[in-house]
């Protein structure tokens, strides 16, 4: 039987306010345990919560960015349960009436656009942390995180593969950073996903029983967990067992999920409106104020890239996958302009390709690289591309230079522990001059080299003439090799074709 996978995601994005959602304590990460927990955070008798307006502003920003409805009145409720890292014995969270409802996010899956509908986004406070290591026969409690503002962003069950889920999560991750509401640091838990996964026979319109995978804090784990869970569910059903609604945990060590609790032993959270907090009223003037301070959104930037930079929609999508990449690309493009050239008159495909293919590939190699830490500055990359566009060097030489600078940046950063760029624009020109990297575009020189190559490779010439296209590429390669890669590849092509013509 063919199975259809149905996935909905719930994402907790930690809002980057400097103080907590209901107290004045700092939200900075990494302080000594319990040094950033005030009377309200540790729930002393008699203390009361006061809503941080900044957290509301962040939530509204998100709502505006995804085209959602901003509820002018929303309610904070208490979710009651006992746990040592939950000081009040309840979590304050929006339940029946969230501040943000609806909206959607359009994401690129491979090269296909897909729209994921959002159900809601609501404000809530984070719990503290239970520390099970370092304490013999006991559990330590660190309440620094208690009361940190979270925005829980819930989707409709609109995704049908781990690839779609990961694309959505990446796009959401980029968006919350783009609009400056979350630092997106997944190692520190600032952005974590729960995945609701079910399967059903293809074509069925009834949802299967779902299991929720909790607390996935990397895109790779998200993908692995979903893939494992989907296969597990299909096996269960095919072997005649029923899926029981449950909450499960993903174990990165084994790559498998394991049961935490079933619906039967789920808590009754006894939600009710928190009498310590008045309903949250969002006034028109506040909404307008937030609206006026919104940055250009990825979708708008993307449209502008297509219009002003003449990029394809796919290229534009890739370059707006994060604020840093978009910003970087803009810098590269500007630095690659020839004298007198203006935006719109120039062809930026080369810049786009360079950023998408070279930079993105290198970024992927260094998985732990923070988003801002490109190893080569946008000015340097732009200058390399300028020289390519001018025909001073060919694309391959450009690529080599980029790789060389990248490694230098990597090395120097590793040595100093600080963030250092490799290379600089002037160095590009110095190296071209000192190492003779200029492209060979003189046709008589290239003709002579081609003649030598043809004479030395009679077999390939014969092969080509009997219709073996591959032999042609080999001959081009020989010619490039003879010039140490500096020949203008287009000219080599043309001259070879002419000389081999019957």
């Amino acid at each position: 039987m063919n199975w259809e996978v149905v996935i909905g995601l719930e994402t907790h994005a930690q809002l980057s306010t400097s103080s907590k959602i209901f107290s004045g304590a700092s939200t900075a990460f990494g302080a000594e345990p319990n040094t950033q927990a005030c009377a309200v955070d540790i729930a002393l008798p008699g203390v009361l919560p006061v809503l941080n307006k900044g957290a509301v502003e962040h939530a509204i920003r998100f709502g505006l960015a995804v085209g959602a409805r901003i509820n002018c009145r929303s309610i904070f409720a208490r979710k009651n349960y006992f746990y040592p890292d939950l000081p009040k014995g309840y979590q304050i969270s929006q339940y029946e009436l969230p501040v943000v409802e609806g909206g959607s996010l359009t994401v690129l899956v491979g090269d296909i656009e897909k729209t994921v509908r959002l159900t809601r986004a609501h404000l809530e406070e984070d719990a503290g942390k239970s520390l099970h290591e370092d304490f013999h026969d006991a559990t330590g409690i660190d309440l620094n995180r208690a009361g940190t503002p979270l925005l829980e962003i819930v989707t409709e069950p609109d995704m049908h593969s781990s690839a779609e889920a990961v694309s959505y999560a990446k796009a959401l991750h980029a968006l919350v950073r783009w609009i400056g509401i979350c630092d997106g640091n997944m190692q520190e838990g600032s952005f974590r996903c729960d995945a609701n996964v079910s399967v059903r026979p293809a074509g069925s319109d009834k949802l299967g029983t779902r299991r929720e995978i909790k607390n996935l804090n990397s895109f790779r784990f998200l993908q692995q967990a979903i893939d494992y869970e989907v296969q597990w569910q299909i096996n269960e059903i095919e072997e005649g067992r029923k899926i029981v609604q449950a909450t499960v945990l993903f174990d990165p060590a084994t790559g498998s999920t394991r049961m935490m609790r079933t619906k039967e032993d789920a808590h009754d959270y006894r939600y009710f409106p928190d009498p310590d907090l008045l309903p949250l009223e969002v006034t028109d003037s506040f909404l307008k104020e937030v609206e006026e301070n919104m940055p250009e959104l990825p979708q708008q930037t993307k449209e502008r890239f297509v219009r002003d930079y003449r990029l394809s929609p796919i290229e534009a999508s890739l370059l707006t996958s994060s604020f840093d990449i978009a910003n970087y690309f803009k810098g590269v493009a500007l630095s690659s302009l020839k004298d007198g050239e203006v935006l719109g008159s120039a062809d930026f495909k080369l810049c786009a390709n360079s950023v998408i293919n070279d930079i993105a590939a290198k970024m992927n190699e260094e998985e732990n690289l923070p988003p801002w830490a490109f190893r080569v500055s946008k000015d340097t990359v732009g200058h390399i591309i300028l020289r390519i566009r001018e025909g001073v060097i060919n694309a391959k030489t450009g690529k080599d230079l980029l790789a060389r600078f990248w490694e230098e940046g990597q090395r120097k950063s590793a040595q100093s522990g600080e963030y250092i760029h490799g290379g600089y624009p002037e160095l590009v020109d110095e190296l071209i001059r000192d190492e003779g990297l200029s492209q060979i575009s003189d046709s008589s020189t290239i003709e002579k080299i081609v003649d030598d190559v043809l004479a030395a490779n009679a077999q390939q010439v014969a092969d080509y003439r009997t219709g073996k296209e591959k032999a042609f590429n080999s001959l081009v390669g020989q010619a490039m090799k003879a010039t140490k890669g500096k020949a203008n590849p287009q000219q080599v092509n043309e001259i070879l074709k002419r000389k081999l013509a019957p």
């Binding site: 009377a39 540790i42 729930a43 002393l44 008798p45 008699g46 203390v47 009361l48 919560p49 006061v50 809503l51 208490r78 009651n80 006992f82 040592p84 000081p87 009040k88 014995g89 309840y90 559990t139 409690i141 009754d268 006894r270 939600y271 009710f272 009498p275 310590d276 907090l277 008045l278």
Partner: protein, 490 residues
């Protein structure tokens, strides 16, 4: 000095008749003599109080005294006070020394008042007799076999027995007014939101309100002038211009329309209580007031509505008492669940447990709509009754409590009878209105009767005016329980 009101002490201090140190020492001596019998204080710390008194005297010498500078005030043990044991009448907090001050305590400190000690109360303010306290029952100075009412029973007795000139209380369903009535003193529950709840240990957040307890309406005004005011740390605190609650005391009350709700005088109230209340109304008529017959048709719903909403909020508010971070923790447990279970089983008393259970039940899945939501709807109807009533009258009067002080143990075995003690006071909390109780006579056994006066929102100054004018022509508020007050002299 023992019969001096807060106002008289304030005037005497200003005139230099005595120092704050002398006043405080006098009351500490009285407490030392009588607290063993009355049990109205949980914590007394003479050194700490006297240090505050000396500081107050220094402040006065420096010409920086305010009206309450140097005056001793007893604080209900529900208010967190830095460095003071703050138990809320519970074993659960029997080791909790507060690291911070409640807003109310801050205000008294800023006014230069002296904290005379922490008064006994029903555990977590849950009770109408002060019998649920972990620290034992408080005795009514008018009859030691009787309760003083609750939950602010310790504060009421401290004032009634002249162990303190004034005290703070909190009122969730009548916890200031009912003990004031049963001990023959005055108590005011302000409009919800007038006094900050920050640092006041929560029982039912949407109903709790702190207020003053003293022997005259004028003294209540002096206290409220310090206690009231906006506090950004309490989201339900109301941002209003500060007012002088004593500004209208002297105004004549002629022409005042007094509403008498039929429901307050129907079956339930004892004949002697009704008689004393009617005599008080007659006194008001003599002052030129008019009486209007009114109805609060949903009145009978207030007790059931209250006993859904208050326990619901309490069950959640009391979740923080889990033995993890502070307070009592069971000694022996095998695992986390057992630590919670034993800590809460051992740390809470029976009445608190009963209300937590009721609260958890009405909030649980499948019952929430039938109980909690329905009670919220009825709460609005009860509030509307008052809105309608205040179209016909300026204040509402009636008994504070259906009976005078009952015997210790008389109702403690029957929660429903106990809950009915607050039948006339609860609706006021549900509506968020201000209400007060003043002494208006005695029953045949010589036990005090309280007159309840309810006003419209923010009418505290007017209520105090109405009470003050009555106290200008009567002397019920000046009566004292004889055997107690004559045992100590300065």
């Amino acid at each position: 000095m023992q019969h001096a009101t807060l106002k008289q002490l304030s005037d005497g201090l200003r005139a230099g008749k005595f120092s704050s140190t002398e006043v405080v020492q006098f009351f500490i001596n009285k407490i030392n003599k009588l607290n063993d019998i009355l049990n109205c204080f949980i914590s007394v710390d003479a050194e700490r109080s006297l240090a505050q008194a000396r500081a107050a005297d220094a402040l006065r010498a420096a010409g920086k005294a305010q009206p309450l500078t140097g005056v001793p005030i007893a604080q209900k043990d529900i208010f967190c006070a830095q460095g003071w044991l703050t138990t809320c009448g519970s074993k659960m907090l029997s080791n909790f020394v507060s690291p911070y001050d409640a807003h109310v305590i801050e205000r008294f400190n800023a006014a230069g008042a002296v904290n005379l000690g922490k008064t006994n109360m029903d555990e977590f303010a849950m009770g109408s007799s002060n019998e649920t306290s972990f620290y034992g029952p408080v005795r009514n100075p008018w009859d030691h076999e009787r309760v003083p009412g609750g939950s602010s029973g310790g504060s009421a007795v401290a004032v009634a027995a002249r162990l303190a000139p004034a005290a703070t209380g909190t009122d969730t369903g009548g916890s200031i007014r009912q003990p004031a009535a049963l001990t023959g003193i005055c108590g005011l529950k302000p409009t919800y939101g007038v006094v900050s709840r920050y640092g006041m240990i929560a029982f039912a957040s949407s109903l709790d309100q702190g207020g003053p307890m003293a022997r005259t309406a004028e003294d209540l005004g002096l206290m409220l002038n310090v206690m009231a005011g906006f506090d950004a740390r309490d989201s339900t605190s109301l941002q209003r211009e500060s007012e002088d609650y004593m500004r209208a005391l002297a105004k004549p009350v002629a022409g005042l329309r007094i509403g008498l709700p039929r429901e307050f005088f129907a079956a339930g109230a004892s004949a002697e209580v009704v008689k004393a209340v009617e005599a008080a109304i007659a006194e008001y008529r003599k002052l030129g007031c008019k009486v209007v017959d009114i109805s609060l048709p949903n009145m009978s719903l207030s007790v059931p509505v209250y006993y859904v909403l208050a326990p619901a909020e309490a069950s959640s508010n009391l979740s923080r008492f889990d033995g993890v971070r502070y307070g009592y923790r069971a000694e022996n447990y095998a695992n986390l669940a057992e630590m919670y279970e034993k800590t809460r089983a051992e740390g809470f008393g029976a009445e608190v447990k009963r209300r937590i259970l009721i609260g958890a039940y009405v909030l649980s899945h499948g019952y929430y709509d039938a109980y909690y939501i329905r009670a919220q709807k009825l709460r609005r109807l009860i509030a509307q009754d008052f809105t309608e009533a205040f179209k016909q009258c300026d204040v509402i009067m009636g008994p504070t409590s259906p009976s005078t002080a009952f015997k210790i143990g008389e109702k403690s075995g029957d929660p429903v009878q106990m809950y009915l003690s607050d039948i006339y006071t609860i609706a006021v909390n549900l509506a968020g209105l201000p209400g007060m109780s003043i002494p208006c006579g005695f029953d045949n056994a010589g036990l005090p009767v309280g007159l309840q006066i309810i006003g419209n929102y923010f009418s505290e100054a007017h209520l105090l005016n109405v009470a003050h004018q009555y106290q200008q022509v009567t002397d019920w508020h000046a009566r004292a329980p004889k055997d107690i007050v004559e045992t100590v002299t300065l």
